[in-house]
Each structure stands twice: as C-alpha cells, then as structure tokens.
Symmetry: C2
Subunit: 186 residues, 2 copies
C-alpha cells in the first residue's frame, strides 16, 4: 500500500502523526492526502510490524507527542517499494469524470460555467505551487540542481505539479473556447 511507504519515507526524519498530517497538507496535497485517524492507525500498525519505532516526548505546546522514526527494516521496505518500479493504477480525478458527463446538464452555458469554475480553481493551485518554487529559489543558493538529495527529489515532484497544472489550465481554456463556439452555433 502506498500510504505505508509514504509514512516510512516521511518518518526517516522523526515525526509525530500530527507532523505528518502537516506535511501532507504542505507538500503532498497535489497528489495524495490522508486524514489523521488513518495516519495514527497506520503508524501503530507499522510499529507493530517493526517498520517504525515510536517514543513519547514532551511538547512545548500542548500534550505529549508520540514521535516515530523509520527503522532499518522500514528503510529496506521503502527501498523495495522504489526498486519494484513505478506504481500505476491509482489515478483518481473526480472532476475529469464530471467533464466526461457534462452533456447531462443539457445546457452549454452551464457546462461553460462548470469549466470556468474549474479553471479558476486550477489557476489558484498553479499560483500557489509557483510561489513555493520562487520562495525556495530565493532562499537557497543551491537551488535547484545542487540541492541535497532529498530536496532535489522534492523539487522534481514539485516540477511535475507545475507542468501538470499548466497543461490542465491550457486544456480548460481550450475547452471553454470550444464550448463557447458550440454555444454560438445554436
């Protein structure tokens, strides 16, 4: 399961469930998500299997935290996942299914409204990712190709987010034109 391996990857630097949720929000949001109860439960299972090790720690803010760290066995499982090659078949994009069925609205104007809402949202996400990249570039002189390994790969991931969103924005723009043209032909 992908989530197991994602947690093993994130816990290479010690992290609590709460910390991990924060990283999902910051870094993974454009290609994965998980809720807190699932994260806590999975960490417990990984600990029972000896893939991570956890200990309680006092926190400056709020109650004690339980901090997990990937074990040697966990590292091996992570490497095995990567060595097995790219994993396919999980793709999931509900808004694309919606576009597929847009004819059910039976109304080109409403189809166009849907696509315009989609475009606006995608533009926002694109701007957010671009801002992250620019901030990073400004703060780290090693950016992008002299970065340490972990950051270098994080940047590769971010680049895909940008390229994919650019493509989808271009597509949505094209769709709106095509729908408008059909609308005009009535």
């Amino acid at each position: 399961m992908a989530l197991d391996h994602i947690l093993l990857g994130l816990a290479r630097t010690p992290a609590s469930g709460y910390d991990i949720k924060a990283r999902f929000r910051e870094v993974f949001s454009h290609f994965w998500n998980a809720e807190l109860p699932q994260i806590y439960r999975t960490l417990k299972r990984l600990e029972a299997d000896g893939l991570v090790r956890g200990h309680s720690e006092a926190s400056t803010k709020g109650p004690d935290k339980r901090v997990y760290e990937t074990t040697r066995k966990g590292h091996a499982a992570l490497r095995a996942w990567l060595a097995a090659g790219p994993e396919f078949g999980n793709e999931r994009l509900s808004y694309l299914a919606q576009v597929f069925f847009l004819d059910a609205l039976g109304d080109a104007a409403r189809s166009r409204a849907f696509l315009e809402a989609l475009l606006e949202r995608l533009r926002g996400e694109l701007a957010a990712l671009a801002a992250i990249e620019q901030q990073w570039a400004a703060q780290d002189p090693r950016f992008p190709d002299a970065l340490p390994d972990a950051d270098f790969h994080a940047h590769l991931t971010l680049r895909l987010g940008l390229r994919k969103l650019e493509a989808i924005v271009a597509w949505a723009t094209e769709c709106i034109e095509r729908v408008a043209r059909r609308e005009g032909n009535r």
Copy 2:
C-alpha cells in the same frame, strides 16, 4: 461519492456491471478505476435507492446478464453532482510519491532507472490515447467539434489525458537529464 455518479452517467445507455467494468478499462483508466465487486454492489444500492432500474436479459455468450438503466431520479442526481461544481481533493498518484522518496535508493543510477521505466510506461499510454483519437478522427467526419454532446465531452476528457501525459513525458525527460547531470558531478 464519485463512483455513484460515474455509474449513473454510464448507465444512461443500458449496461451490465460487466459492460461498465469494460468502459472503465477503455475510457476511464487514466483517471479512475473500479473493480467488479464494487461495481455490482454499488449498482444494487443505486437500484434500491431508485436511481437505476435493472432487469435480467439472456446473453448470446455466457449466462444471463443484469442490465441497468438510469432512472429519471438518477438523471436528476447526476445533474445535481455536475451543478455543484468541480470536485477536488481526490488526487492520487503513487508514482509521484515514489519520485519524492527516490533519494532513499541512495544511488543516482537506480533513480534514473526508475524514471526511465516511468517514462517508457507513460509514452505507451500517450501513444494509446493518441491512437484512439486518430481512429476516431478518421471514422467520424463530425470530429471533433460537430460531434453529438456526449461524444464531444468524451473528447474533451481525452484531450486532457493527452495534454497531461505530454506534460508528464516532458517532465520525466527533464528529470532524467537532471539526474544524469548530478550523477556526472560525482
């Protein structure tokens, strides 16, 4: 739930669970998937809720089939889903999570091998989608903008598949270069 609405959309033309699985393979594979047991169970639930109507039918090949069709109530539910605007938050791409953690391999050559396998796979998918589009263009003189509504929207979806895959192929190519350059700098 997205699957409910996808089934309502697909059953606008009568279809059995098996037929629907085939359409997932053919048309939806690049943005959604579902297994047979889930499809059968969901169809039953939708029937109990009056959103689809099912009847048994003799098949030329194999056993009887149960053919479902979206009811008026089902159509209304589908339209409501679309009218509510684009649905976000389901994005899921395990191979991107893998790229994020590729540094765990600790070996640029193996990272490159991973990315090359990814690129090969993506190129295959891109070629398959492009072939579908060309065949379609050759067979239907109305292609693409004079197509009937349902086909027009199916084509919009296919266009996104193409644009997205082109972007990802370009990205993977860029990644391989960057990884090779790092490899050279050792």
